[in-house]
Symmetry: C2
Amino acid sequence: MDIQESIRVAIVEDEQEIRELLEQIIDLSPGFSCKRTFSSCEDALPGLIADPPDVVLMDINLPGMDGISGTGKLTEQIPELNIIMLTIQDDPDLIYQSLCAGATGYLLKDTPPVKLLQAIEEVRQGGSPMSPSIARKVTMSFRPAVNYDLSDREKEILTRLTQGENYQVIAAELFISGHTVRTHIRNIYRKLQVNTRGEAVSTALRNKIV
Amino acid sequence: MDIQESIRVAIVEDEQEIRELLEQIIDLSPGFSCKRTFSSCEDALPGLIADPPDVVLMDINLPGMDGISGTGKLTEQIPELNIIMLTIQDDPDLIYQSLCAGATGYLLKDTPPVKLLQAIEEVRQGGSPMSPSIARKVTMSFRPAVNYDLSDREKEILTRLTQGENYQVIAAELFISGHTVRTHIRNIYRKLQVNTRGEAVSTALRNKIV
DNA sequence: CGGTCAATCGCACATATGAGGTATTTTAAA
DNA sequence: TTTAAAATACCTCATATGTGCGATTGACCG
């Protein structure tokens, strides 16, 4: 392997101490190089878009544009860019937002240097490195949160509501009368504590009921 | 640490060869023990529910009840049970369904023994081990898939549709007339290629537009 | 300068929906 | 076998919705 082929890493991190520490860890490791570091997204974006590195380490808490918005802007321009969030927070909501914005990895800042370097390599090879506790939060996010105690029939009808079918169509497909469909939907709304179709579909999908 | 404290692993796998190979890998490794193996979910469920192991390795393709359904039944009874899917398939849909059913890890069958043991330890410690390519598919699943080219105003209205607000309420909140709301919604429906509120909300949420 | 598009506003009408109530039958559990 | 829950069915009525049409304004672009 050519000496030139070291993985080019860029860092966006506002705290000077951490930034320089990361830079040293990476730059002093064979196979890795860190030529560019930034203390804000505003500084980082133009350069990173013009000449994308192999991997970006992105802090979430930044003055001005936060790391999640920055990640969004970057992936909008360069969808295949590998961005690893590197932060203290393990708030499920921030993890969710980061991944939606296009992050491909998510590490906690207490990650030891060796693991950090492994993660950079892994994301380079098409993986999605995450700290164990983060990965767990991600998998847990797929689970249905609350149990609304819907009957099978109700779930069936709710599914069809999400598909935009109207009362008559549902009735025909399930071989029941439109009146019955209305009654079921009334019960669904009561259990879901909603009173419109839009809310019902929304609650159903967000809670993975269907 | 006590010698008794080895991690108790159970295996559900129909192919005898693979099952016995896994059993050996685990049972011969210090700190791990595999006392129970099954060739079907039907066989496995009663025992696993009665006396849950620390970790379950679950195949997806099984005769009779498949591994995803089995995982669902298990987590219904024991939500905190650690189940690692162990399969050849990396189909995003199966990954999604597995995680929804309650799987906490997902490994490909070509995972080398060392990595497998590491994964078992990791899931035991609250992580969610995944093969790199699987993890990447999981993170990618958070990204908005298709761009429907909605204007900011349209996204704003779409968001409110998902919250079940009616035309008049939306109009009042955005300080525009109900007529305008209708026009926007008409345009949203056209762009999303739907013609009911339920479908619009569904498409919006599934594609992470809002 | 002409063209395009987003955002705004308007009218009319058939149908779908949500909300109120009541009641029978089937299934499952106690 | 009694009871409870789920599934079924019906009625009425005010309002929301989807859709057909047309129109004006302002911003931005070539």
